[in-house]
Subunit: 660 residues, 2 copies
């Protein structure tokens, strides 16, 4: 079109100005990928800047989040609520234009990115969500159908999580997923060729992807042809476009343009290369007009059509429409545990099994729930009775088989949650939370209510040994902001954790589950579980000490309490299913629950002592890796027996109160 | 050979017996991969069971660690110090035959495995080490030359870390690395085809691997031919062998054989299929004899030749020989900081820059040091002046360019450390420790002295925003057993951390570094840094409170101390560079250092409060994700200013002492 070149230059010039003004940012890819971004928005991407959360919009994931200046410039000229002042505030505290794209901060930003590779895996999740929604509700293409575009660089493709996600995308034939790889010849430290020489196209074709190569990333017509062709593929498409990093800079093609501002002089030089002669932060009307005509009007029309289609759909499918409305406004959570589940108090049962029953119940209550495990469904008990596997032939299936790809699993779930209209969960052995910690962080950072089910939660894993026994993962998880971490002690507490997890709307939840059977506690409390901690077994008269525990250690503490009472030692047992919530309670509540002074508390937990120290100096913890052997023997070796608890409590009680 | 079939059956029968006896274990792959393992040991692998730590031995990594029963059976018949009683004690507490292979526990086990994918990446590290040692010392092929074999299943190939490592292996042309992929058609949950349908050979060829397909994993001659061919490749080789999981079981080919014992009946059935009719745990002499002749004698001869070659080498290259001997016996650590570095106390400097100088010094002192970064060498300051990149053309290069592959980076370093003869380090932004936490755990579990350099250690990262600002990673790292985690406050403390890290022999160390400049402290102490914590700025008379801090917050605390003193408030400042070491000191020392009672302590650290809680209830921490903006503004927003510290200390001092 007439102003193609001017528009591309506007994106580039604004990016230069923003980064120069902030004295911070990454010009490299922002400059070289501008033609692609412009082509995509002006010719293909359907979205309405006035309704940035529209469920049917095409998604655009900037996996290479460091190119944020380009994205913000584009959103600005495309008519999103990103003003010139916002651009001038690039990377400033509280601005709409933070260093890396942040979901929820900037209209038009479809996900947080920056941690490399995870943009791609989140895009895979979005593409799954799109196909699933269309299959879940009858004749709903007009409501949900869209493309998912993702732009990445070498870094994203080198990261393991993208390899996992790419394999999954091919296996699931996500043909409306289009990944553009900006082969700009440079990474942060130097030429890409230092570390990256593979045949990318061949690798992706080996996985089952469609591959298109555009040899000139400045060639808008070639990019458009590639995008057009990709949209008609029956498998996901990778478009490789060859570019020069920092296009226009005197240092173009080198890593010098990757992460440092060009500065005024080189900035002027680059603008000359583009033929751009406007002052900083000035964009001619032709650019806005072009974007209005090529992008905005198209989006507005599409949105209006969607509104009509939705009204028609309601008439034809009132029931489905209700479900859709509920899920889009998070009202679906009201269906969780309408009838509270009942448990047999006499039955010892592993909390992973209890979790299995609860998950099946929630799946019935939430038809829009989709999730699965990383090849441990049978162990973590995420199998859904009568559940259908999600596959190209069964897009309506609610069971995701992620394969042995934990990181992609969690990140795909983030993508599903970002998409909207669905709720999601995933399951893993707790020790392998290590493999996807970076994705859990992204759930928390993006306020996504993903539910993580983690079983085999301690040295009680037994024979599989230290590689499979989590000891430090509880500290790792509890230390993540905005993440609820429940370690329930029995069925009642597990159900409470489930309710909290599946009714949350602005944070993820981890539910930590035992492999081994645990007894049902006499006085476990559904309501108090979500207070974080509570008295689960009170003293007879006055507590001589308080024992705090979570999960399988609560029943151990109660056993010790009984034994001690026979000797006239009267203690309180506190169950602490969610330590952080408890720590956020009023001090008065905490004091009431804990009863004893700090010197007279013992915290028992089969993990490293970081969390427990918050409430007690006397901690019985596992401050070493575990061992292979029958679970009971491993626990005995590590000191988790009634005898040892009794002995430790005796010491706590006998010791004179002292201030350190 | 005559007894090939009998030997294979012996491995299978023993595996069945071990797993049945333990009532726990994974028969699936143990049964189907036995022919490969036998072929490899009897015809190719050169190792001497009497010297399992021999530096020149061929390495065998069982990446699919759950097939441990097969490995132990093989080691037993091959003459390693793994007795029949050890086999009978499979998966029992304290046995030589734990659930998954554990380095240091079983002679002949070259690394710990089980966490999938990491066996492959560790094998890549071993292969790098082999080529590097041969290039490092002149004419040393006879001393170091060997192959690295690795056996994996679908799971390992699906994991992202193996994709990263495979790309690196191809780029580095590690032609003596031979990876065997047991395509046994099943994973834990079901058929492999549920999640894995790619063209594996094509994917690896796209990376630059040699690929060989053996369609019958029971065909010893075909396996031998493939292994022989692989040994002559000029790139790493992937051998895919098609097998049936749980070969011989009535459930062969299905996931039922993956993780559950066959039981006596099915065990008998399988043994019939093999034509094996010996009682449980009985192996005929022919098997031992065959292994003695085909494997042991070959290894013993090779070892004897190596001893001779070593003697001859000493005569010819006395200097290199001394270096080699020192490095093999860990005496190389005596060279670290022979002359202690001096620092300019007047110069503000980022600890990452100080780290850069120290690393260059250590590289000069330790010629056997090899390491690098995941594309952030210029930011984390791991650049080595005049350093040569390790590459196919420069195997002597000591600078590893890992690419944007953090997980493989750390795991490759584990492989290098496992190999012996070398010391290693790697660098990353601290927030991306999330991406390789699982490998750090493996360093700690295997007692490997890998050094992790992590910079950009707090919200002071500034503009890059919350995705790049670590807040919870300090808790994640400190909670890992057997890992030293230093967060030095200035040059003196950084040097002390370096000395500790590079003289350690049985544990890994993390050194956490600032992006921003910090002042040099008047009384920072080299010696006391390794005590974990110490008084860095004493009170004038009697401490009214004690402020504890680490890293960049120490100077903040000292500033506040000065201000408070002007108002007559006399406090102590404690620097806490390594919290866990401090917590392991005698209580008496801890008390002396801390001075004030618990109620009168304030712990300041720009991270989530898990660690700090160990010593104080009053904590100034970051209990939320960070924000994008200039560093000073972000820190102010989060409360890390002298004013705020002064204000908090005032409150601590003013508050009456109370127990809770």
């Amino acid at each position: 079109m007439k102003y193609d070149s001017l528009c591309v230059s506007a994106i580039r010039a604004l990016s230069i100005d923003m980064i120069n003004r902030a004295k911070s940012g990454h010009p490299g890819m922002a400059l070289d990928a501008a033609p692609l971004a412009y082509t995509l928005f002006s010719r293909f991407l359907t979205a309405d800047p006035k309704h940035p959360d529209w469920i049917k919009r095409d998604r655009f994931v900037l996996s290479a989040g460091h190119a944020s200046a380009m994205l913000y410039s584009l959103l600005h000229i495309a008519g999103y609520a990103v003003t010139m002042d916002d651009l001038k505030n690039f990377r400033q505290l509280g601005s709409k234009t933070p260093g890396h794209p942040e979901y929820g901060v900037t209209p038009g930003v479809d996900c947080t990115s920056g941690p490399l590779g995870q943009g791609i895996s989140q895009a895979v999740g979005m593409a799954i969500a799109e196909t699933h929604l269309r299959a879940l509700y009858p004749d709903s293409d007009d409501l949900f159908s869209h493309y998912t575009y993702c732009l990445c660089g070498d870094g994203c493709l080198q990261e393991g999580v993208s390899c996992e996600a790419a394999a999954l995308a091919a296996k699931l034939k996500l043909n409306k997923l289009i990944l553009i790889y900006d082969a700009n010849q440079s990474t942060l430290d130097g030429p890409s060729s230092w570390t990256f020489e593979e045949d990318v196209g061949m690798r992706f074709r080996a996985l089952g992807w469609n591959f298109i190569h555009v040899t000139d990333g400045n060639d808008i017509e070639a990019l458009a042809a590639a995008l057009d062709s990709a949209r008609h593929s029956d498998s996901p498409t990778l478009i490789q476009m060859d570019t020069l990093i920092g296009y226009g800079s005197v240092n173009q093609g080198t890593s010098k343009t990757h992460g440092a501002p060009l500065g005024l002089e080189d900035g002027e030089h680059a603008k000359k290369v583009y033929g751009w002669d406007y002052p900083p932060f000035v964009v001619p009307d032709e650019v806005y007009m072009t974007m209005r005509e090529s992008f905005q009007l198209r989006g507005e029309t599409a949105y209006a059509e969607w509104e009509k289609a939705k009204q028609a759909y309601f008439v034809k499918h009132p029931e489905a429409s209700n479900l859709i409305d509920e899920s889009l406004s998070h009202q679906d959570i009201n269906r969780v545990f309408k009838g509270a589940p009942a448990f047999d108090k006499a039955k010892d049962e592993a909390t992973r099994s209890i979790s299995g029953s609860l998950l099946n119940l929630v799946q019935q209550e939430l038809p829009n729930l989709i999730g699965g495990s990383a090849d441990v469904a049978s162990s973590v008990k995420t199998d859904i009775k009568g559940g259908v596997d999600y596959s190209p032939a069964h897009r309506e299936g609610t069971v995701l088989r992620f394969g042995i790809r934990e990181f992609a699993m969690a990140s795909v779930c983030n993508g599903i949650a970002l998409h909207g209209g669905l709720r999601t969960y995933c399951g893993s052995f707790m020790v392998f939370a290590d493999y996807f910690k970076a994705a859990i962080r992204m759930s928390a950072l993006q306020h996504l209510p993903v539910v993580y089910l983690m079983s085999h939660d301690s040295i009680a894993v037994g024979e599989d040994g230290p590689t499979h026994q989590p000891v430090e993962q509880l500290a790792m998880l509890r230390s993540i902001p905005n993440l609820a971490v429940y370690r329930p002690a029995d069925a009642v507490e597990t159900a409470a954790a489930y309710r909290a997890a599946f009714t949350a709307t602005d944070h993820p939840t981890v539910i930590i589950l035992t492999r081994q059977k645990v007894p049902q506690l006499l006085d476990s409390s559904d309501a108090k579980t979500t207070d974080g901690g509570y008295i689960v077994s009170k003293e007879k008269r006055t507590p001589m000490a308080t024992v705090i525990a979570s999960g399988s250690e609560v029943s151990l503490a109660i056993e010790a309490q009984k034994r001690l009472l026979q000797d006239g030692i009267d203690i309180r047992v506190v169950s602490m299913p969610e330590l952080n919530i408890f720590l956020s309670q009023p001090k008065k509540y905490q004091k009431e629950v804990l009863g004893s002074p700090r010197d007279k508390r013992l915290y028992i937990e089969m993990c490293t002592p970081y969390g427990p120290f918050a409430l007690a100096d006397d901690v019985m913890c596992v401050n070493a890796f575990g061992a292979s052997g029958p679970a009971s023997q491993v626990m005995e070796k590590m000191g988790f027996t009634v005898d040892r608890v009794v002995e430790r409590v005796r010491r706590v009680v006998a010791r004179p109160l002292e201030r350190d």
